[in-house]
Symmetry: C2
Subunit: 206 residues, 2 copies
């Protein structure tokens, strides 16, 4: 049974530790100890501490790819129901955030954000540009379908989604890891309430 996959254990334990204390505040010695291995052995699997971090980001990048099924769903919205719109638009993020490993990696992203341009690009893309674009599209459709009044759809998308991003900053930078499950559940509830609040404000008066 040489099948004790050391390389993967090192990765898992690194994710745990980086998420808890930040990359800089975790030593290779700690990772080694957590992995029940000697420091030097780590270098048989990763050429440096940095490479462990790179591997983690690589993993997440693959995770975040928008599958073609979701893309299709967004394209094919013909329903007239706001709830249906909401479900389709939020499903993608909910799937990603419900995964425990992803959560830890997100925590790492938020911690290291300030001095890592790779992360900056990632966050800008996946937490700002893509979502705002998607929600703008969805709100535009709602307006065309006369579900809500016609206003600046991009500003509406920002109003909706930046609220959520702020909540994520709170969760990952302030509350983590306390009551993570609870905060996350509240997050989804709040986002749905927020959507209702906004669409209520924009109801068509007939």
């Amino acid at each position: 049974m040489t099948k004790r996959n050391t390389k993967e254990i090192i990765l898992k334990k690194s994710i745990d530790l980086f998420a808890e204390k930040g990359y800089d505040n975790v030593s290779v010695r700690e990772i080694a100890k957590a992995s029940s291995i000697k420091e030097s052995s780590i270098y048989n699997h990763y050429k440096s501490k940095q490479q462990i971090l790179d591997t983690i980001f690589e993993y997440l990048s693959k995770e975040m790819v928008v599958d073609t099924q979701t893309e299709q769903e967004i394209e094919n919205i013909v329903t007239k129901d706001i709830t249906e719109f909401y479900k389709i638009g939020s499903q993608y993020y909910e799937n990603k955030l419900r995964d425990p490993t992803n959560l830890k990696i997100f925590r790492i992203l938020f911690i290291e954000l300030y001095h890592n341009s790779q992360i900056k690009n990632f966050i800008q893309k996946f937490l700002i540009e893509i979502p705002i674009q998607g929600w703008t599209q969805l709100f535009s459709q709602m307006m065309e379908n006369n579900l809500i009044r016609k206003v600046d759809s991009e500003h509406l998308a920002n109003t909706y989604f930046k609220y959520g991003v702020e909540l994520l900053f709170e969760i990952f930078l302030i509350y983590y890891p306390e009551d993570l499950e609870t905060h996350l559940n509240n997050f989804f509830i709040k986002m749905e309430n927020h959507m209702h609040f906004l669409t209520d404000c924009l109801l068509i008066n007939e």
Copy 2:
């Protein structure tokens, strides 16, 4: 002229360096070099690196105190003009954010937030609780004055202000220090636009 206030120079240079690279990534050696002094001399003014950081936070805490004049102004709103409401409500934050030293210290706060409970409390208080409370009060007044439709004023406050906090996270964690001036100017413009967007959505139909 023994009036070359070393203690203050050390503090200023520390603020610069911590804001640039984060507390952990700045060494006492660096601070000494930037202050044109030897490492050991720093310990004549501060008993540890940590104490320099404490002094910085102490400074900001004094800065952020709400003066009684502002409090009075908020109490005494009798005007019927939305713009006037907005000015009074946002003046306090604008004053704080226009100061270059405060900006650097805010950057430090955002960087160190994830592992410093002192900062967590500070941010929760000054960037979440107090503002939301203040804006809730202001929106309530607007509703009583029939300037906008009656909706959940606290949710409206969150909708308004969390948008701004998210922008601050972007500015201090992603864009800093590039085009800081520009981003800050845009921030104030965006916040005013956002206010108009929300109040427009809630205009009374007569």
